[in-house]
Subunit: 505 residues, 2 copies
């Protein structure tokens, strides 16, 4: 048995945990329990599941202190950020409870038997049903909101599926305590033992993805690890969906109007967005297009001054800390970027100060636009809008794009919107892409390599990833789910082609 | 240039066509035109696209004679079947036009800016947008409804995407004429040249799937070809969704009550379903569970008598014709099935009479449940319901399962429903799975290897395969799609968590 260590990134000190790497045999036992739990879950009502989700949220908040304590010592993130993230995770479970109560996510459809242009049609009723046990990979940068108690878990359980999490090696204790919080609350609610599983260690993660009982994988992390997991899936006898949120540089464009009207505000806003959580957010604006000329120069000088004055920030782990300057050096050596502010190491732990690079739009290539995870921004100077359009072709597809403009720049804003709409999953106007709102409409996904395009991992519609359609034809009423029976019903449905709201109370 | 041949399966005579295999350079030109067309399509309204779909439907019906003529000589399918299939294809385009007019498929969601439990939230609006050029592979067994003018094409275009079809080698002329019908109608409607493309030849198909401009692949065909296409996708720099409808044996269960009450009716219905279109339907019930005992014996005898009296039927091509008896022989030699009726070759062409096999439920293995594409049914004799449940574990996941029971067999029907619901995408009661209704609720998909689980390829919701979400945050009204602006709107939307119907006229 391999004993696993945990490291405090604030001091770079490593200590042994009582956790051991999960063996292949244990992984199979855990997924077998998950499969059993799935059988139980399938028979529960939506009301039961909404209640479960609320109980999980309550449990998280009850365990706030012990969870945040563990995360403080394992991630180096600030207490305010971690408390906010825990609140967000609890909110996420409650929002999914609302969605389960609402039932619109079931996409219930009824076509009664009847004559059609192609002859007599049978009675057909369809809705979405849960897909089965889901594997979730915790992310290094969100010990709560994208890990054991995060959005993938919440949406998979909301859909009616058991979840087995691969704990991220950067926050093993946080993961363990999070898992205990979930299992305690779930047990008190009467959920079966196998609803939540957790595995530790890289090999256990690989075994989990290969396990035939697993029906989908949710992952937030690096493109390279994502590709490894996808290749494991490619080897499976039964292919399963891989929902990877992998890489994003999040271009931000400042128009000539905006740079003149709001130099200081944009300087401050952009710098805060680049350096929040030490720049370790998937929506960090890593590339900012700034006009050439005097006003643009002022904005650049503002950001440079902020970076030079900034204190060192702690990064999540030694890998990210070590990669940061490697990537920065590549952006200069191979990408042709100029260093405006070089990072300085902090006094202790995995810490450093922010970095600022600059490049001319005409020189932007794939080598200059690699994602640098951490507090770094590449300022791209442009004179003509076509230079932006051209440079964007070299920028990897991203979760977001942001456009800062003035109200009267309608035509230019439209042109930039067109230039980014096929490249990203969310377009932000006069704001910043960090601070993702957890809501019904949020889209946190985008064309590859941001994600694999067609789904969000944040917000209510993330639930669709863990569902599949099932149809019943000429079914006797007693085999139909309650939501597909004729008469009053508590979900919206499309009946004979016409959308109907849930029956009034 | 390789000149391509076409074969009449009724006579097994091959003749040269004027078609040549599409070169890699030509494939790239075709996808480049599709990418251009996508830019145009993105700017058109839903009303425009619904009009286009209706024009395509009208065009198909105008060209009915020449299309059906070609298909008659290339597929050996009956004129009534082919005319019905053409009507179905036209109906499909019109049904998607209705769906586009309705706009519910956009899944429009608006969250206005406001206070949330996590602080101030920005205004976020989200809907689905088209994904880009789609590759569609024609199927051998549906020269219209699953080929150039089929459901994949209709749903991809309805979503707003250009389509490039790989013509099936079994019906090249039908494909060419179908493509001409589409392009003629599209041009008359004012659609750009690149909206529809077509490529010929296996290598061109592979090049199409590998082409970086292609954003999704729709395929209906064999599991082996599906796996090849998936492996090409696995090699792409940018992974894309593969929607394969691959293999299905469609178990059908007859309860003791049903076999007693409706022996003759089930004998006739099952035989018609097994042999319709010479058994070459993806929903053919290839495996039927029949009780042991006298009533079950009568049902078996009925089916045997029908098969012995049946005339030879023409199969689609030499490959299917050749494989049929190979697979049948394997089912006997390796699967342990008993031959009740052996097929006899017809007088001419790729023809043969139906085959009937029998096996005891306890002997059912994966080797006994391979899909035999053609007029063959395996009758599985069972004494106890647990034998059915057990045997189903060896049956590959399928598009459908069917349960024949009597009204009073509530408990048994429930048990069989539970036994199949995780294995299939549609459950049919007291009917037959062939004759798929094209409607809002239809699900034509199922767990692997039926499909890759989460989508249908028939019915309105097939459109979701070719869409992706896009969100706009704090967007000025002029950059928003009409469907996401405040005020009266012609689509249903979820606004601040509450589903609202389209505004009344």
């Amino acid at each position: 048995m391999t004993t696993l260590n945990t490291t405090d990134p604030r001091t770079a000190t490593t200590s042994a945990t009582e956790l051991t790497a999960t063996s292949a045999v244990e992984v199979a036992e855990i997924t077998a329990r998950a499969a059993d739990a799935f059988g139980f879950l399938r028979r529960q009502s939506r009301a039961w599941r909404a209640g479960l989700l609320r109980a999980l949220a309550d449990g998280l908040e009850e365990d706030r202190e012990t969870l945040v304590d563990a995360a403080l010592s394992e991630t180096g993130l600030a207490a305010a950020r971690l408390n906010g993230e825990l609140s967000r995770s609890a909110f996420q479970f409650r929002l999914f409870a609302e969605a389960v109560d609402d039932g619109g996510y079931l996409e219930a459809i009824i076509d009664h038997a009847g004559e059609t242009p192609l002859g007599a049609g049978p009675d057909v009723r369809r809705m979405l049903v849960p897909i089965g046990p889901v594997a979730v990979f915790g992310a290094s940068n969100f010990p709560f909101a994208f890990s054991v108690v995060g959005g993938d878990t919440a949406s998979a359980v909301a859909a009616g599926n058991p979840v087995v999490v691969k704990a991220h090696s950067s926050h093993l204790l946080t993961s363990q305590r999070s898992h205990e919080s979930l299992t305690r609350a779930a047990a008190a609610f009467g959920a079966p033992d196998g609803l939540f599983g957790i595995v530790y260690g890289q090999q256990a993660g690989a075994a989990l993805v290969a396990d035939p009982r697993i029906t989908a994988v949710g992952f937030t992390g690096s493109l390279s690890t994502g590709k490894i997991l996808q290749s494991i899936i490619d080897e499976r006898e039964t292919p399963i969906p891989f929902y990877g949120e992998l890489s994003s540089v999040n271009p931000l464009i400042v128009t000539p109007g905006a740079v003149s009207a709001r130099t200081d505000a944009i300087g401050e806003g952009l710098f805060v967005s680049v350096t929040g959580s030490a720049g370790q957010l998937c929506t960090k604006p890593g590339i900012a297009f700034v006009p050439t000329g005097e006003q643009g120069d002022r904005l650049v000088a503002d950001i440079v001054a902020r970076a030079e004055a900034a204190a060192a920030q702690t990064l999540l782990n030694s890998r990210i800390h070590g990669a940061f300057d490697e990537i920065r050096t590549r952006l200069i050596a191979q990408g042709g970027a100029r260093s405006l502010v070089a990072p300085a190491a902090g006094e202790e732990g995995f810490s450093l100060t922010p970095a600022v690079l600059e490049i001319d739009a005409a020189d932007v290539t794939a080598e200059a636009t690699e994602e640098a995870f951490g507090p770094l921004v590449l300022l791209v100077r442009y004179a003509e809008r076509d230079e932006v359009r051209q440079a964007l072709q070299a920028v990897p597809h991203s979760l977001t794009a942001t456009i800062h403009s003035e109200p009267e720049e309608t035509e230019l804003r439209g042109a930039f919107t067109e230039a980014v709409e096929d490249l990203v999953g969310r377009i932000v106007y006069n704001g910043y892409p960090t601070g993702v709102r957890v809501s019904w409409s949020m889209n946190h996904g985008g064309p590859w390599p941001a994600t694999n395009t067609q789904h969000t991992s944040v917000g209510v519609t993330a639930i669709r990833r863990f569902l599949r359609p099932l149809a019943w034809q000429d079914a006797p009423v007693e085999v139909l789910p309650a939501e597909l029976r004729d008469g009053r019903v508590d979900v919206p449905r499309r009946v004979d082609g016409v959308l109907e709201l849930a029956s009034a109370d």
